[in-house]
């Protein structure tokens, strides 16, 4: 075809020759003047036919060459790939932000259009391709690369967006793995089809990403669809108190963020168990975030579905924040110890009476007893505080549960009897060799054996633990005699001494483990060790510490779409009833939900919670537990980077062949090099323009 096209070059030459051959013979009266006129013309004028011929021939040649779609590449591998075919992996972003609609065009349709364009540039049977979906759990569309591009087209036609946050690092690593394993040394190319959301790409470690791609992989970043316009998002739902009780005023709140460049009003609705109960209108300045709070008293015990919703906008996926609120009759407090709580004088005896002095439903706390060897995974999830009454070694399961509880925000109070206190502290803080303890127990001082005792002397009454103590209570506390106390040394900076004995040695200290708090008391409430149990101020002390250690609110980020979901606190499952199931936000059972027992409690696991909303563990028609899944608030931010910026980040991290934007003249990909036909068409136009100029110039 190219040769046939090249024959067209002969057209201007033939035309030139035909023109050159005089069309007719004319006998003229006198040619002297004609000759002298011709002689007076400039040499350039006389050459103009040749100039025109050259310009016309060049124009035809360039047009023919442009139709031949020539490519330019300095890379011999790329140049040679025309014979071998390229291996192309399309990295398709299907995170929540791609759902955004701008100017009536959804991000999904833009991504589909771009992917169609890319596939249109590939040749079935020559190029190999695959698609990797960039979401929270990136995976390839096909198990291996294929040259049957229709399969990929069908796959992409069924593309659905997720509510996930895109994990581009993993997605590119997966793409790199596919290219390395299956490209068979062919020209590897990674094509990024993303909305280029800044928050997504800011998390990417480009050095690691480049290392995951095969050597010489060419990265092409295609233009992003327009971001969602005028987005307002609701996020960070939470409730307070963390363990609400029936009738207690519970604050339900969330953060409303405007990503608009103009002031906006947002109507926030509160729905509990699918009933719309309250609304609020808040005003938001450009880019402003405000907290919205509703106060509600739950009327019954159990799990409640709380949804805070704003009106629809450019990105509908982030318009609802979900909360699963478990309302209890009383707040549980777990006391772990091996002594008999019903035997007078034991540590658990005094502790249980200090926590629940009325011994019934009139108390605000409900005491749960656990021995050191019991697996109690499900029991302490909702506990306001865990009290370790003694220092006997904890069973492995229990220790793991306590440490998890502690590190995830729970409060633990450790009373020190004459047992292996150092080992207990080491196990709680996770120090295997006994080092890095908040303080080091040195010696148990048995003052009682000598008929002596020691009292509390100083205290930081402004600390959250003791803030509720008034002056009489403080004096009362200072009257208590302690006969067995631990002397400690090497108090770390992280350990805050809240109370001290008369001799100045620390009595009570508080340190943070993970997001939780550990309070260590260098004494025991047992009768032989102190007189604590005899004083009413001990009740006040335990209540003060319990309140201080109870998390103020509950909620927060929780699980996000695309991540595993574990539902705990499943209660009321009847062993001989219907098998429990997990029902997703769309009301359909989730087939791959797995139920397991941890100790005597049931735990449900979902491999990936695909959508935001409520996930309910149901048995028959009864709901046994609810978990809320909320979208990642970072997906709401419409800020974008340009394809040029992303290409630059790849380049700065060491990528050699990065192409941003995709050409419009020669296609999105430069599979065998940079397209030249656009340039050639442009040059042809230039030649024709020059030809017209020359004709016009000499015709003046």
């Amino acid at each position: 075809m190219m040769l046939l096209g090249a024959l067209l070059v002969s057209l201007p030459i033939i035309a030139h020759l035909l023109n050159r051959k005089a069309k007719r013979r004319l006998v003229f009266p006198n040619i002297e003047l004609l000759r002298s006129s011709a002689a007076s013309q400039s040499s350039l004028f006389r050459l103009r036919r040749w100039i025109l011929l050259i310009l016309r021939a060049l124009a035809v040649l360039l047009i023919v060459a442009a139709f031949a779609r020539p490519l330019w590449s300095n890379d011999p591998a790329v140049a040679a790939s025309g014979e071998r075919g390229s291996a192309v992996v399309l990295l398709v972003d299907r995170s929540l932000s791609v759902q955004g609609v701008s100017g009536g065009v959804s991000g999904l349709s833009a991504v589909r259009a771009s992917s169609d364009q890319v596939l249109a540039e590939l040749t079935s049977g020559v190029e190999y391709a695959n698609v990797v979906y960039a979401d929270a759990a990136p995976a390839a569309a096909l198990p291996s690369m294929t040259s049957n591009l229709n399969v990929l087209r069908q796959e992409l036609e069924q593309l659905e967006l997720t509510e996930h946050r895109a994990d581009f690092s993993s997605a590119i690593a997966r793409a790199g793995q596919i290219l390395a394993d299956q490209s068979d040394g062919k020209n590897a190319q990674l094509v990024v089809l993303s909305d280029l959301q800044k928050t997504n790409w800011d998390d990417v470690d480009f050095k690691a990403v480049n290392a995951a791609l095969p050597e010489g992989t060419k990265v092409t970043v295609l233009p992003a669809p327009a971001p969602a316009g005028e987005n307002v998002a609701i996020s960070a739902p939470a409730y307070e108190p963390a363990i609400p009780m029936v009738g207690q005023a519970t604050v339900l709140r969330a953060k409303v963020t405007s990503f608009s460049s103009e002031a906006r009003e947002a109507l926030v609705s509160l729905r509990i168990n699918d009933r719309k109960l309250q609304t609020q209108t808040i005003r938001l300045g450009p880019g402003q975030a405000r907290e919205v709070a509703f106060t509600h008293g739950f009327e019954r015990v159990g799990d409640h579905r709380v949804a805070l919703t704003i009106e629809d906008d450019g990105l509908p996926g982030d318009n609802t924040a979900y909360l699963a609120v478990r309302v209890l009759e009383r707040v549980p407090v777990v006391i772990i110890g091996d002594s008999d709580p019903n035997q007078s004088g034991t540590d658990t005896y005094f502790l249980s009476r200090a926590v629940a002095p009325r011994g019934g439903t009139l108390d605000s706390y409900e005491v749960r007893y656990v021995t050191t060897q019991e697996p109690i995974a499900g029991q302490i999830d909702q506990a306001a505080v865990v009290i370790l009454a003694d220092t006997k070694p904890l069973g492995p399961s229990l220790l793991k549960t306590v440490r998890e509880y502690l590190s995830t925000g729970g409060g633990v109070i450790q009373f020190c009897d004459d047992g292996p206190v150092a080992d207990r502290l080491a196990s709680l803080v996770g120090s295997e060799d006994g080092k890095d303890l908040p303080w080091k127990p040195v010696q148990m001082r048995d003052l009682g054996a000598q008929g002596n005792w020691i009292r509390l002397a100083e205290a930081d009454w402004r600390s959250p633990l003791l803030r509720s103590f008034d002056l009489p209570s403080q004096e009362s506390l200072q009257q208590i005699a302690f006969r067995q106390v631990w002397r400690v040394a090497d108090v770390q900076d992280t350990m805050r001494v809240v109370m001290s004995f008369e001799d100045g040695s620390p009595a009570v200290g508080r340190t943070n483990i993970g997001t939780g708090s550990l309070v260590v008391c260098n004494f025991s409430p047992a009768l032989g060790a102190s007189d604590l149990g005899k004083y009413g101020s001990f009740v006040a002390l335990m209540h003060a510490m319990t309140e201080a250690l109870t998390p103020p609110s509950s909620g927060g980020l929780g699980s996000a779409p695309g991540t595993p979901l574990t539902i705990t606190g499943i209660t009321g499952v009847v062993a001989d009833g219907d098998p429990p199931r997990v029902v997703g936000p769309e009301g359909k059972p989730i087939p791959d939900a797995v139920f397991s027992t941890l100790g005597d409690t049931l735990v449900a696991s979902v491999r990936s919670a695909e959508r935001a909303g409520f996930y309910r563990v149901m048995q028959g028609d009864y709901t046994r537990a609810i978990a809320a899944v909320n979208v990642d608030p970072l997906e709401s931010d419409p800020a974008r980077i340009t394809e040029g910026e992303l290409a630059e980040r790849f380049k700065l991290a060491g990528a050699k062949a990065v192409h941003a934007g995709g050409g419009t003249t020669g296609g999105l990909l430069e599979l065998r090099g940079a397209p030249l036909w656009g340039w050639m068409a442009g040059l042809a136009m230039l030649m024709l323009a020059a030809e017209m100029f020359v004709v016009g110039y000499f015709r003046r």
Binding site: K21, A22, K23, R25, V27, P29, S37, A38, F698, R699
Partner: protein
């Protein structure tokens, strides 16, 4: 060349009597005095007797004694010569250039192209039609007249006017010098001889106009009007010198420079093989390329001729073939009567 059908004997190729009706009130008279053999209507330098008294002048030695007015001498005692006006007939010599260059009749070679011709004609006719397509139909027939034809028509009309006013007309053909010379005559039959001579000429070779004029000057014994019809495609200097011979002998010279429209404005041809009509030399040219330069040069040449002739008090008239001969002649005669040339 277009053929004229003469059924009455009154029409000739170069003279159609019905067209001469335009000139029934026109007199072709010389600007200067002429000498003639017979009495006529034109002023003559000749003085004589028994003609109308004009004036006196003092006697000068050499005057005929018989011319002295003796009666006046008797009254004034001074010698005076009595002068009389003498009116003579006029002799008009028509000198026509019949060189090959005068044969040029445009790119169509003198064929008349009408709309009916072009509609049903061959591709060549259509091409010719497209060449002349820009020109109006009214002028197309005129365009296809050769310079020689136009010159002859003008000369014939002048000859007719001259004979009609009972003056004499002579015809000279310039081709390699003076090729033909028909003595002056004043009869209609003489006019027919002139027309016949015009029609039978070979329009070929070179004119050598300077030689022809010189030979004419030697042959013309009496003063008169010499009308030269030529394209003046020859060196200027010899021709001017030859014309000076005529004017020094008391002749009035009038030059009609007949040029084809294609010479003034090059035909709309892109590429053509141009052959010189007289030398046969050839040159391949694109008319478009040289159009501007050529047209400047031809204007310059015409202006040069006009200036040189006026300097010698010779009338110069540019007659393009786009103008019908009678219009050109009428304009010339009008200007001549008004003293404007």
């Amino acid at each position: 060349m277009p053929e004229t059908v003469d059924t009455t004997g009154a029409n000739h190729r170069y003279l159609r009597l019905q067209e001469m009706a335009r000139f029934k009130n026109v007199v072709f008279s010389p600007r200067h005095m002429v000498t003639g053999a017979y009495a006529g209507r034109h002023a003559s330098p000749q003085r004589g007797h028994s003609v109308e008294f004009a004036d006196y002048r003092e006697y000068m030695p050499g005057d005929e004694v018989s011319d002295v007015d003796w009666k006046l001498y008797g009254r004034s005692d001074k010698l005076f010569i009595k002068l009389f006006e003498h009116y003579s007939d006029m002799s008009v010599t028509l000198l026509i250039d019949s060189s090959a260059s005068m044969r040029y009749a445009g790119v169509n070679g003198g064929r008349k192209v009408s709309s009916s011709d072009s509609a049903g004609g061959s591709w060549l006719r259509k091409a010719a039609s497209s060449v002349t397509g820009r020109m109006k139909n009214s002028s197309r027939a005129v365009l296809d007249v050769s310079k020689y034809d136009l010159a002859c028509r003008m000369a014939a009309a002048i000859g007719f006017l001259t004979i009609k006013q009972q003056d004499k007309v002579a015809l000279c053909i310039a081709r390699n010098g003076l090729a033909e010379y028909l003595r002056p005559g004043g009869s209609i039959s003489h006019l027919f001889k002139i027309l016949a001579l015009m029609e039978t000429q070979d329009v070929a070779e070179k004119a050598d106009l300077a030689t022809a004029i010189k030979e004419l000057a030697l042959r013309n014994k009496r003063r008169g009007v010499v009308a030269i019809f030529s394209d003046l495609e020859e060196p200027q200097e010899p021709i001017l010198k030859a014309m000076a011979m005529l004017t020094h002998r008391g002749n009035e010279v009038v030059v009609f420079q007949v040029l084809h429209q294609d010479e003034l404005k090059l035909p709309d041809l892109s590429d053509a093989l141009i052959e010189d009509s007289e030398t046969g030399q050839r040159v391949r040219l694109n008319m478009d390329d040289i159009r501007e330069a050529y047209e400047g040069k031809i204007r310059q040449r015409v202006d040069s001729w006009s200036a040189a002739l006026r300097a010698k008090r010779i009338d110069h008239n540019l007659i393009p073939t786009t103008v019908p001969y009678y219009q050109a002649l009428q304009r010339y005669l009008f200007n001549r009567a008004g003293g404007v040339s």
